[in-house]
């Protein structure tokens, strides 16, 4: 790890707010997203989805559709045979992308067509006859845990009986019963959060092409084209090397595009039709058939001394996973108490199956809900003992040497720094008016690194092509260009960074877990340093001196020693120009497992005004404080903080999947599922803390996820303080706020 360790240095271009390289393409419409690909002879793919929440598929008759003019392929699960062994995550992906005997939720894919145009494809879907036998369904997490609940997946057992409880996780240490016995004050409260979608503007889209030789190509909007390649190749029985996957420009992902949804269907259609197939989800399909986060039901109990010392914390978390098991409850349990140093702590999480879409990662997955419950209870305890909520948190804050509730002992961490920044922030001292309230909350996310591979190639004019394999979801091309320029000592404008397809680089893990800048930044540094070694060797040839007599600084080779004082420095461009005569192309390459990402913390402040007549909440002011380790491009870092807060605001106030008694999703559109728009949001203030990560040469930490963790609790605190009654259920929509006010007033 030594070469990966942090070294303090003065940066020349890193940390500057340079122009983003994708800006012109995006504002002029030249950027090519998932649906913008075209191939000669391409067909239009469409998916037939279950109208039932839970149903046996007795028969699918595709014969009429197959005979229709213009229809080139119709597929069912029979065209996607199980090559996974019938278990594990890839089997779940297979079942999710095409139902196998049972439709598990409203919107579950049951068949698909490829036709010459959209109207023909739609007509073909109507011509497919599916005979269902409706089964009892369950969409609520608490109802799904009841003894008499309909069973979503036969074969799942809990305590030796058929059950929807698919996993129980427990973390913690100490003796919580003894801790509560020591407490002067004990607060216990239950909370609920409704299911939300990541809300990316660009729907899932891909263009698949499989030739008669079995080789294939896939153009797709994704956060991880290498992972998509590996999964799709396994599901379709293809060699990994013979499926080339290119990631398009991405119109938002936030975790939802880390998962394979319909791409195997597009490839199977193409294979059957022997033509390229473009498959683009409609917005209703995005809601029904891809990636919401969990809804939850949670109980939290905190005991404390009157002096503000917490003696015990206990959380019971129930997360619904959709119809397939996931790590979601477990992640909630791991993150729930991570901000605090507690002697006695326990978190128990239940992952529960229901008849809703397969749950996907959503920015710091599972942490916002657990933080909502824990942080809200922290506020209640602080109020009960008459202590300032920031001071109460500071008194119990986790520090270097604290044993995290999820197990390990922390090294250097930044939670206390964010809390002190919040305490001293002018926002905390600003006066509030009538019907206004303020809340604050903390949040934690792990961050991680992973497999990364990068190429750096220097052109004969001295410009640099940097090819990275992590999809740019939040400014990676600008950040990597800054890092390459910093290392090579050349202007930012001389570097062009591209995302390579799967045939051009070794495997790169998906851009998730706030890993993009951390891991590709590390690989870029090492690739640039490898290229500098080549540049020095070429300069040595040009000068006919020993390479050990050459050092690289300020973008040029410098000959060391008085005996070489007559040699003027050779710039990168001068060396590159002579490269054909000194050995050919100059390049640097690196492959790395970038571990040691370091945990991340944020603290937020929020002011709201609540209309007591309508229950509508307006966000008046919002401040994010987060540790970035080192902000490579501060604009993008601030953008991540602001974007995460904006998503959290939508989650807290408006967004929710609404299911009818029939188990059907009632609001699969942006008209009825309300994400925040500009007029809903104030300018979100940010404060970047830079506490270097000791495990990265530049001190980088991931920044993309942590700031979605505190908003639910911070806003709940603000709304509760504004209306005088504690809100315990998100979204805190106007009807829910009004109901809470009326119940508090005995009406």
């Amino acid at each position: 790890m030594a070469e990966q360790s942090y070294t303090e240095q003065e940066f020349k271009v890193v940390g500057s707010r340079v122009r983003r390289p994708d800006g012109v393409d995006k504002v002029t419409g030249r950027a090519r997203y998932g649906a913008d690909a075209f191939a000669p002879g391409q067909l239009v793919g469409r998916i037939l989805r279950s109208p039932h929440a839970h149903a046996k598929i007795k028969k699918i008759d595709i014969s009429r559709a197959e005979k229709m003019k213009g229809v080139k392929a119709v597929i069912t699960c029979d065209d996607l045979p199980d090559l996974t062994g019938g278990r594990g995550p890839n089997f779940d992906i297979l079942v999710n992308c095409m139902a196998r005997g049972t439709a598990l939720y409203h919107g579950h894919a049951v068949a698909a067509v490829a036709a010459v145009d959209e109207p023909t494809a739609r007509k073909a879907l109507k011509a497919i006859k599916v005979e269902y036998k409706a089964l009892p369904h369950v969409t609520d997490v608490d109802a799904a845990m009841a003894e008499d609940a309909p069973i979503v997946q036969p074969g799942v057992e809990h305590d030796g009986k058929p059950s929807n409880i698919v996993n129980v996780s427990q973390f913690g240490h100490g003796d919580v019963d003894a801790g509560f016995a020591e407490a002067d004050v004990i607060i216990e409260k239950s909370y609920r959060t409704e299911q939300t979608h990541q809300g990316y503007i660009e729907p899932h889209a891909c263009l698949a092409s499989v030739g008669p030789d079995g080789d294939g190509e896939l153009w797709v909007t994704t956060q991880g084209h290498f992972t998509f390649r590996n999964v799709c190749a396994q599901l379709l029985g293809m060699d990994i090397a013979k499926l080339k996957v290119t990631s398009s420009e991405i119109g938002g992902g936030f975790g939802g595009k880390t998962h394979v949804w319909m791409e195997p269907v597009a490839l199977a259609l193409s294979r059957k039709a022997n033509r390229p197939v473009k498959l683009v989800m409609g917005r209703d399909e995005v809601f029904m058939g891809s990636g919401p986060t969990c809804s939850t039901s949670m109980d939290v109990k905190i005991g404390a001394k009157r002096d503000g010392t917490i003696t015990a914390g206990q959380a019971t978390l129930r997360y619904q996973d959709g119809p397939f098991p996931g790590p979601w409850g477990m992640l909630g349990a791991m993150t729930s108490w991570a901000c605090y140093d507690l002697p006695n702590v326990q978190a128990v999480a239940y992952d529960v199956l229901v008849n809703r879409p397969k749950v996907a990662a959503y920015r710091a997955p599972s942490a916002p809900m657990a933080a909502f419950a824990v942080e809200s209870t922290m506020d209640l305890v602080a109020a009960e003992i008459g202590m300032d909520p920031v001071d109460f948190r500071l008194q119990n804050v986790a520090k270097e040497g604290s044993k995290a509730a999820y197990g390990p002992t922390y090294g250097p961490i930044g939670i206390e720094a964010t809390l002190r920044a919040v305490k001293n922030h002018p926002h905390m001292k600003a006066k509030l008016g009538k019907n206004q309230g303020r809340g604050m909350a903390c949040g934690f996310w792990f961050n991680f690194g992973g497999q990364t591979c990068t190429d750096l190639n220097i052109g004969v004019d001295g410009t640099v092509n940097l090819t990275m394999g992590t999809v740019d979801v939040g400014g990676a091309r600008a950040s990597m260009s800054l890092i390459a320029a910093e290392e090579l000592g050349i202007p930012y404008e001389k570097v062009k960074c591209n995302v390579g397809d799967t045939s051009s680089l070794g495997h790169n893990d998906t851009t998730e877990g706030s890993r993009g800048t951390f891991s590709s930044g590390m690989a870029t540094i090492f690739a640039a340093r490898a290229a500098i070694d080549v540049l020095k060797a070429r300069a040595a040839l040009m000068w006919e001196i020993d390479v050990d007599d050459i050092e690289w600084k300020d973008g040029a080779a410098h000959a060391k020693g008085i005996e070489h004082s007559n040699l003027a420095p050779l710039t990168l461009a001068e060396i590159a120009k002579k490269s054909p005569q000194t050995g050919g192309p100059i390049a640097g390459h690196n492959e790395v497992v970038a571990d040691g990402a370091g945990v991340s913390f944020a603290s937020h402040i929020c002011d709201v005004e609540v209309d007591p007549e309508t229950g509508k909440t307006k966000i008046l002011r919002y401040t994010v404080v987060q540790d970035a380790g080192k902000a490579i491009h501060p604009d993008y870092v601030e953008g991540q903080f602001q974007g995460a807060a904006a998503q959290g605001i939508g989650w807290a106030l408006n967004e929710e999947y609404v299911y009818g008694e029939d188990g059907r999703l009632q609001n699969p559109s942006f008209l009825d599922y309300r994400i925040p728009v500009c007029s809903d949001l104030p300018f979100i203030d940010t404060e970047i803390l830079e506490i270097p990560n000791p495990n990265h040469p530049y001190g980088i930490r991931g920044v993309g996820e942590t700031s979605i963790v505190p908003p639910l609790a911070a806003i709940a605190g603000a709304v509760s303080n504004a209306v005088g009654v504690r809100l315990d259920h998100t979204p805190m929509s106007p009807p829910r706020v009004l109901k809470a006010i009326r119940e508090a007033n005995g009406r």
């Binding site: 792990f446 890993r515 571990d595 996820e705």
Partner: protein, 81 residues
């Protein structure tokens, strides 16, 4: 000899123990010896296990030395968004 603590999901694979002692100088050796002594751990390693050493979480690196008296924790492999 490092004492290796295990997240609850792994404890059934080591006969219900909260922690076990494993003689290992690197993460790779730790993973190998754990599977030798507790074959049921193999399924977990196939699905993904993160190793925390003195508070730092490693998802993939295997050739890292484990210092004597290090705190070692086995955690489920994390997923992000």
């Amino acid at each position: 000899m490092p004492r290796v603590s295990l997240a609850s999901g792994f404890q059934a694979a080591v006969d219900g123990a909260v922690s076990v002692e494993i003689e290992a100088a690197t993460i790779r050796e730790l993973v190998r010896r754990l599977q030798e002594q507790y074959p049921k751990m193999t399924r977990h390693f196939d699905e993904g296990v993160a190793v925390s050493i003195n508070g730092e979480i490693y998802r993939d690196i295997r050739d890292l030395n484990i210092p004597p008296d290090a705190e070692v924790f086995l955690l489920p492999r994390l997923q992000g968004g």
